[in-house]
């Protein structure tokens, strides 16, 4: 009770007492409009430099609008701060928010009307964004934000360890069997060496890797209509059995959520990771010679993407229009390419990859090539439901109990199935 709860509520009070902040100097057309953008890019960092430089560029080329980027703290806690600002009646015009929050964000009346902006503007080309991004940004037909970042899971491996074990590097045709064999060969308890690492803190980090396996095995998370769980299926059992077999053979380093796996990969103790471009900088700065490959297949090579959004809030029509103008400019292919070149982030729309300058990006970030291609394997989105965090907690515990050999795949799935169905049945 003490710390977080009271602090947040105190912050709500403080903000509502202060009010003010930025405001448009007038609502009529032609007047100058000031808007505020909240981000979580830390200093020093390529993203922070890029957002500063690019908002300055926008302000220079759009004399009637001034966008002020503000650091709002670690993105993990961005929602708590936005909640406080909404309660205080003074939300930022644009905020960087995780895609997993979309369904909950959609319940606030404080959102800017992006649907009507996008519907009346054919040059925005909403359908050019990756399908998984649009899926996560849209809640029951309402667009809550514009895609800000997309990533996905691919297989990163230590070339040296593969060579030492006499293994050929992973190919794009690898199956789960190939992966499991390699993981076992790379496991050596005497050298404290593991074939693979799995984040086992029971958080969404544990869960989304399992969803990728479930999809690869041909399963689904929920029945269409989202009224009933669907993961308790032969595909689900396959996925968890695959996981438990490797765990039983001590081939998986279980990370408690502190990210130790990165240091261990860089010191040659872990052969393979399923991870995304966010770990690339740290892996590249180590001494391990590494390769990247798409995920191995059971029935297919699907991956999972975790898109985040720029969510626009409604501070009156003039500011909403200005926020939309900025987001349209910022996510346009040429500007997005500039962002990718500066930060190494993946392109957020197909058109960016078709620009002539995109070759430059692939040359500058060779490790990203596979993740860009892998966006074509990101076919499904996690359910966009307000109850998703609860579902995630149930699945997190189920996966943990399988990894720790505390229950069989079928037991874990049956128990999770029951719990998720009662979450879905509860009136929201």
């Amino acid at each position: 009770m003490k710390r977080y709860f009271v602090v947040v509520i105190a912050a709500v009070l403080a903000l509502s007492a202060c009010g003010g902040g930025s405001s448009s100097s007038g609502s009529g057309s032609g007047k100058h409009v000031n808007i505020v953008l909240w981000h979580g890019f830390t200093s020093p960092g390529a993203e922070l430099d890029a957002i500063k430089a690019m908002t300055a560029e926008f302000n220079r080329t759009h004399p009637t609008i001034t966008v002020t980027p503000q650091f709002a703290g670690n993105s993990d806690y961005a929602l708590q701060k936005v909640l406080a600002a909404i309660a205080g009646g003074n939300p930022p015009d644009i905020a960087y928010l995780y895609g997993s929050w979309s369904a909950n964000i959609a319940t606030t009346p404080a959102l800017a009307p992006l649907n009507s902006f996008i519907a009346h503007d054919s040059s925005f080309n909403w359908n050019d964004f990756w399908p998984v991004e649009r899926g996560v940004a849209t809640v029951k037909g309402q667009i809550v934000g514009v895609p800000a970042l997309v990533d996905n899971l691919a297989l990163v491996y230590n070339k040296q360890l593969f060579a030492q074990a006499g293994l050929a590097p992973p190919t794009a045709n690898w199956t789960w069997t190939d992966f499991a064999n390699a993981a076992q060969k790379l496991t050596n308890p005497a050298k404290k060496q593991f074939g693979w690492a799995y984040v086992n803190d029971g958080s969404e980090d544990t869960v989304w890797r399992f969803w990728a396996m479930l999809w690869e095995a041909g399963g689904s998370i929920l029945e269409s209509g989202s009224k009933q769980a669907a993961f308790n299926s032969p595909a689900g059992v396959n996925a968890l059995t695959f996981l438990q077999n490797l765990a039983r053979k001590q081939s998986i380093y279980l990370d408690t959520g502190s990210g130790n796996y990165l240091g261990l990969f860089n010191s040659g103790h872990i052969g393979m990771l399923w991870t995304g471009p966010w770990d690339l900088a740290q892996i590249a700065s180590g001494h391990v010679s590494f390769g990247v490959q798409i995920l191995p297949a059971d029935l297919n090579h699907q991956t999972i993407a975790g898109p985040d959004n720029w969510v626009a809030f409604n501070n009156g029509s003039a500011r909403s229009h200005a926020a939309y103008e900025f987001l349209k400019w910022f996510t346009s292919p040429a500007v997005n390419l500039e962002w990718c070149l500066r930060t190494g982030d993946l392109p957020i729309r197909a058109a960016t990859t078709k620009l002539p300058g995109f070759k430059q990006y692939l040359a500058k970030y060779p490790g990203d090539r596979v993740w860009v291609q892998n966006l074509n394997n990101a076919l499904q989105a996690r359910p966009v439901l307000a109850t998703y965090p609860k579902i995630s907690q149930v699945i997190g515990q189920a996966v943990q109990s399988v990894l720790l050999l505390k229950s069989s795949p079928q037991q874990a799935l049956s128990s999770a199935d029951q719990q998720v169905n009662s979450i879905l049945a509860a009136p929201s």
């Binding site: 009770m1 003490k2 709860f5 909640l83 909404i86 803190d201 907690q393």
Partner: protein, 311 residues
């Protein structure tokens, strides 16, 4: 009051006007000094607590407009098996943390309450964990207790004991957290006991010695009773602290593995800020507040009858 007021009017004594009474009063300076603190406490403690109580009667996700649902949050709480196991974990934790940390601190304080070389260093060493950031110590212990790469298992191996899973074993994780938090808070208890030990009048100790009391019976019959007030304070304070266990769980286990370290405050946090059930979270906060209030009152009531206060 009223009668007195009528009396003064009856004898015709004029009371000075209110502003003159206020400005001329000795209390004005006192009030002026405490007002900033009172405002701060009101804004950052009293009002949020009141608000949380209000929130607990609402269906509120902090985003959409809230509506009142009476006692529904509390009724759901009574039937929630996850909350029940959070209560069990918290009670087990408290039942271990409070006696171990206070007992350990008493022993250490007695050991440190003597004039030997380097005593300042030992006292400092004992206190360092208290002032070290919980997040930093949590991350260090994650490494120390790592089943494969941790130094603790390395030592166990060196002396021929079996390797342990520690924080990755649902049957061990809660006890590991007890150990880590005892280590963290021991120094605070030691400082309190050291101060209390140094406040024991020397003549009482001499009297016991002259009466031929052994060291143990001096400790048992003179020192321990005189440490009563310090012990009572530590029991109350440690219990409140233990019932609000959060930071170490958040940093080291996220309530896992398989929910085995989910304490009440961590569960509350999950409900309010991961699941967007702020009303439900507030109901947990209110229940916890009332539980702490009752436990503290009982402890103080027992303490009043058992603790010896030297006049």
């Amino acid at each position: 009051m009223t009668a007195l007021a009528e009396d003064t009017r009856a004898v015709g004594l004029e009371r000075p006007p209110l502003w003159r009474r206020v400005l001329g009063s000795d209390q004005l300076a006192g009030w002026a000094f405490v007002t900033p603190a009172v405002i701060l406490i009101a804004v950052f403690a009293v009002i949020p607590i009141g608000w949380a109580a209000l929130l607990s009667f609402q269906a509120n996700n902090l985003l959409a407009p809230a509506h009142y649902i009476g006692f529904a949050n509390y009724q759901a709480l009574a039937k929630d098996p996850a909350f029940r196991s959070a209560v069990v974990h918290t009670v087990i934790y408290t039942a271990l943390f409070v006696p171990i940390s206070i007992g350990g601190a008493l022993g250490l304080a007695v050991a440190l309450n003597r004039k030997i070389r380097g005593i300042r260093f030992y006292r400092l060493a004992v206190f360092v964990p208290v002032v070290t950031s919980t997040v930093a110590t949590g991350i260090i212990f994650l490494w120390l207790l790592d089943p494969t790469f941790g130094i603790v298992n390395y030592f166990l191996h060196a002396v021929g004991l079996p390797q342990q899973k520690f924080l990755q074993d649902p049957n061990q994780a809660l006890y590991c957290i007890v150990g880590v938090t005892v280590w963290e808070w021991l120094g605070f208890d030691v400082i309190i006991y050291l101060a209390a030990l140094q406040g024991i009048p020397q003549d009482l100790m001499e009297a016991a010695e002259i009466d031929g009391a052994s060291r143990w019976s001096t400790f048992r019959s003179v020192v321990l009773p005189l440490l009563g007030p310090a012990t009572l304070f530590l029991v109350v304070w440690s219990t409140i602290n233990a019932l609000q266990l959060f930071d170490e769980v958040y940093v080291m286990t996220r309530g896992g593995p398989i929910g085995s370290t989910t304490a009440i405050v961590f569960y509350l946090y999950q409900q309010a800020f991961s699941n967007f059930s702020a009303g439900y979270g507030a109901a947990i906060a209110v229940v916890l507040f009332l539980a702490i209030l009752v436990v503290t009152l009982v402890q103080l009531w027992i303490g009043r009858r058992r603790v010896y206060y030297a006049s």
